[in-house]
Symmetry: C2
Amino acid sequence: MARILKGAEVVSALHAQLTPQVEALKAKGVLPTLAIVRVGARQDDVAYEKGATKRAETLGVAVRTFLLDEGATQAELLATIQAINADDAIHGVLLFRPLPKRMDDESVRAALLPEKDIDGITDGSLAGVFTGTRRGFPPCTAQACMEILNYYRIPVSGRNAVVIGRSLVVGKPVAMMLLQQNATVTVCHTKTQDMPSVTKQADILIVAAGRAGVVGADYVSAGQTVIDVGINFTPEGAMVGDADFAAIEPIVGAITPVPGGVGTVTTTVLIAHVIEAAQRSIKRG
Amino acid sequence: MARILKGAEVVSALHAQLTPQVEALKAKGVLPTLAIVRVGARQDDVAYEKGATKRAETLGVAVRTFLLDEGATQAELLATIQAINADDAIHGVLLFRPLPKRMDDESVRAALLPEKDIDGITDGSLAGVFTGTRRGFPPCTAQACMEILNYYRIPVSGRNAVVIGRSLVVGKPVAMMLLQQNATVTVCHTKTQDMPSVTKQADILIVAAGRAGVVGADYVSAGQTVIDVGINFTPEGAMVGDADFAAIEPIVGAITPVPGGVGTVTTTVLIAHVIEAAQRSIKRG
């Protein structure tokens, strides 16, 4: 029987830290504010936006949404971003991606003021994650994994961490963050040969493969901590992770559930970044 | 008896590719030009500068050196960088680091125009390495490792690559470049426990520990390719790598010598970046 690493407990602990920080900002006349920029109405985006908005409200952080029609031009999106950049009352921006294919992702990302980039999409934030400095902000999902390890006091330094997946939103940044905390880090992916022989040696296994059931009983061993980043839906509509929870939970030492694991923590990290961006804006004066 | 992966052969092959590119640039009236910026006269820097200058001359690339006194201020260094940025006849900049402690490394790096950053020190280049795009330029030493693997046709995709060291000039960037070529990549470092058990499983072992003799016979196994990035000097003044060459050469499948391995290729990569920067400057017009 594995220990179930519930996101809700991590969220509660983060809320306890964040609430007085929001109060302190408000006492200084600063209302931490998140701008959400969305082109079109993809179902995933709308669901995430709803969660983020609710979390922001709970913490007393304001949200302003900027919705562009699905047919909007890149020039319209850039104008929206520039207006947000110029607005001192907005501290952080969540820009839903992937953008429509007709738009140039790099140009759009580059338009965002780095200090408002709370989800790690600008060069400054990416370089910060790569170099291990606290410039910019790391992608929220990657940081959510680290917050779970930290809250449940899972030792990282000197341990073997294996990451399945090499995306820029989870795999690569979480690998860098684990390395920064002195783990020995291995990154696996679709081209990895005999993945179970690699993953079985992990003390910490981060699963961000993006496909349901990738990690079965043959991938894990006793005592491991498994962090499942996956969000998938069965034909019946049930939300499941990338790991086969029923098969591996009896084997490993600890595991995050889906739903109720990483995803639960991600929106809180997002709001935490807005609060930190507001704090930094005061320091800059 | 391991196959000895000599840098000189890689350099010859690169020269054959680069020479017509320089001629094509000159035919368009562009003389590819490297600026070398050095504060003080550290022995390592002077030796590297000498090698780079010689390599540039061989390839018909011009070099302009900007030497600042050891006591120079940060303002003086920034003014030098700004003058170089503004000079359209200069395509790439080699800035020796570490800078004197009184200077702020981040501010100085940020001052350099990203398109002239041929040694991967700006946020743009670092983000490019991290995201696996050909924006900016990767650090030359990291790329030299990849050039050696490529020239000697060492398979990378699907193989286990282990990197010892996590610096920003070699360890982290070479890990990202190996990942980009579909290796399964593990990064080890001083906090790694039982390193031999990890390194023995590598198909490709990149040694960038920064200390002589770190990798002995117990770290390696038959058939491996070992790329030794280390440059150290014995008390007698002999140049040696981070691997104990005499001990591991009889075991592994292939190994780079020191001297005559990675270091030999690095200056050629540097000059290749200057040439590419000049080509890009024409495209930008």
